[in-house]
């Protein structure tokens, strides 16, 4: 069989034959006709303007996801779903450096959620969701949901007092859904209450089902960005061609971004060193909940908002709360970027209200 011919423009751009890199490149290109892909990737550019920094948010969240995968795999070596608390205690107190690895897993989870919020809101305010990028936005929304499920499922796994009650409260919110609430909550819990069966299904979700889902969706999300290019804000797109500056992604932007990843690595180690994650006493389903128990900060605003709708009107609160993510999800179909349309401004206003509300309620939740 004949080899695939190497395209002439490839010959000009790959390293010369006598160098090792040139040999490897030719070896691969003769077997796999992937030059169009490489060429396309080499041309991937990032626009340079005063909002460029926001383009980094997704990449930083990706960094934290990678940390989660590595530390998660390490923790899985010693975690036992049949003996959840004892195995986590062993990791934290007996296994060499187990404490640090577990704390890094905890901090990286929190920072990942933080940077995802920054990524989501910056994409929102830069209106990156507009056609043709609606499905990048939708896959992103799905990813956000999956990550929050990661957080919720992972939180239970240590099976300490905090995990147990947080999960019990969280799932009892599901019970309140009309018609299917009780049934759905039972399915999620694996029974009428949070038990070892809940751990079983949360564990499978956390280490297999959700990772597969996230990898698939992330692949699609990144694929869309590769073939469509990075979105440009209006102010930049309106500039005349000569004034537009771009960085090539490979390798300029990437190498500029790498030290920032290194900084976040140091930050994770510093946080794990200074603020290691505690392990509360083992869950006792019949004991009283710990004093001052609150959800983690990323669920705190919802928790605090629901407190405003006690008793009878709780349903009103839940409906209102559901409208917010639905509103954000459907924004690409509402704000179509028609210049004379006011919808763009309304969408921005909506975003500002949601963001401010989340911040206020989170802070309020903390101090109360």
């Amino acid at each position: 069989m004949a080899d695939y011919p190497i395209p002439p423009e490839a010959e000009k751009q790959i390293p010369p034959e006598h160098k090792l890199t040139g040999k490897v490149a030719r070896f691969l290109l003769k077997r796999y006709p992937i030059w169009p892909i490489i060429d396309h990737l080499a041309q991937k550019v990032v626009p340079v303007h005063k909002h460029t920094i926001w383009y980094n948010m997704g990449g930083i969240a990706l960094f934290f996801l990678l940390v989660q995968i590595v530390t998660g795999l390490l923790l899985m070596v010693y975690y036992r779903p049949a003996l959840p608390w004892a195995s986590v205690q062993r990791i934290v107190m007996e296994i060499s450096f187990g404490n640090i690895i577990r704390s890094i897993h905890h901090w990286s989870a929190n920072l990942m959620v933080l940077f995802l919020f920054l990524h989501m809101f910056s994409a929102f305010f830069m209106k990156a969701y507009r056609p043709p990028r609606e499905f990048t936005w939708l896959t992103g929304a799905a990813l956000m949901g999956i990550v929050l499920l990661f957080c919720f499922s992972g939180y239970l796994l240590p099976w300490d007092a905090l995990s147990f009650f947080a999960t019990r409260v969280g799932i009892s919110e599901i019970e309140k859904a009309p018609v299917i609430g009780m049934w759905l909550a039972g399915l999620v819990r694996g029974g009428p209450d949070v038990t070892i069966d809940t751990i079983g299904r949360f564990y499978v979700l956390h280490v297999t089902a959700l990772p597969l889902a996230v990898l698939m969706l992330l692949g699609i999300h990144l694929f869309f960005i590769q073939i469509q290019g990075v979105s440009e804000p209006d102010s930049f797109a309106a500039l005349p061609k000569e004034k537009k500056r771009y960085h090539k992604f490979f390798t300029e932007f990437m190498f500029g971004e790498l030290p920032v990843w290194l900084f976040f690595s140091a930050l994770l180690v510093a946080l794990a060193a200074a603020f290691p994650r505690e392990l509360a006493p083992e869950a006792d389903p019949y004991a009283s909940a710990p004093v001052g128990i609150k959800p983690e900060w990323y669920f705190l605003s919802q928790f605090q908002l629901l407190k405003l709708f006690p008793g009878e009107i709780e349903m009103v609160g839940m409906v209102l709360m559901a409208l917010i993510p639905i509103g954000m999800l459907l924004v690409p179909f509402y704000d179509r970027s028609i210049p004379t349309d006011r919808r763009g401004k309304i969408a921005t206003l909506f975003g500002i209200v949601v963001l401010t509300g989340m911040i206020i309620f989170t802070v309020w939740g903390y101090i109360s």
Partner: protein, 160 residues
């Protein structure tokens, strides 16, 4: 501090990268050391306590009350067989077959390994089958209705 190098004239870019790359790898090894320790087998505590004795689990004095009785048990994280020989003396051997690690069985007049047919006499010597070495004997003593084992080299100090 070699000031000439810092001037940047005599060091080429490639050498620079090589130096930094090597340093990077060296430092990386140090930082990744915790992951290596995390995954490495964790230290197993010595089953023999401060006094050189380990308590035997799963074998009670009733199990070896009369000559000819023997049972598999454990000490620390290791397996053993305790039995009483025809003279009425308590004996104990590590139960791990020296061939491939299966626990051997006490059969009254010998130890037999079900995995590959290895056979040992009551002194632990390998007399038939694949095992290349005898079983390790342990010193054994009965006290307060419990059984303790100790390393045989410590025998003299134990009885002092």
């Amino acid at each position: 501090m070699d000031k000439n190098n810092l001037m940047g004239e005599s060091v080429s870019k490639r050498r620079f990268l090589q130096v930094m790359g090597t340093l990077g790898l060296g430092w990386l090894g140090a930082a990744v050391y915790p992951v290596y320790k995390f995954l490495s087998p964790q230290a197993v505590p010595d089953p023999f306590g401060e006094d050189g004795r380990a308590l035997v689990d799963k074998v009670s004095t009733a199990d070896v009350a009369r000559p000819g009785m023997g049972k598999n048990g454990s000490y620390g994280t290791r397996g053993l067989i305790v039995f009483r020989d025809s003279q009425g003396q308590l004996r104990a051997f590590d139960s791990k077959c020296t061939h491939a690690g299966c626990n051997v069985e006490f059969q009254g007049n010998r130890f037999y390994c079900n995995c590959h047919g290895g056979t040992y006499d009551l002194n632990g010597k390998n007399i038939a089958g694949p095992p290349p070495r005898p079983l390790t004997e342990l010193g054994v003593v009965e006290e307060d209705r419990a059984i303790y084992v100790f390393r045989l080299t410590d025998e003299k100090t134990e009885q002092a």
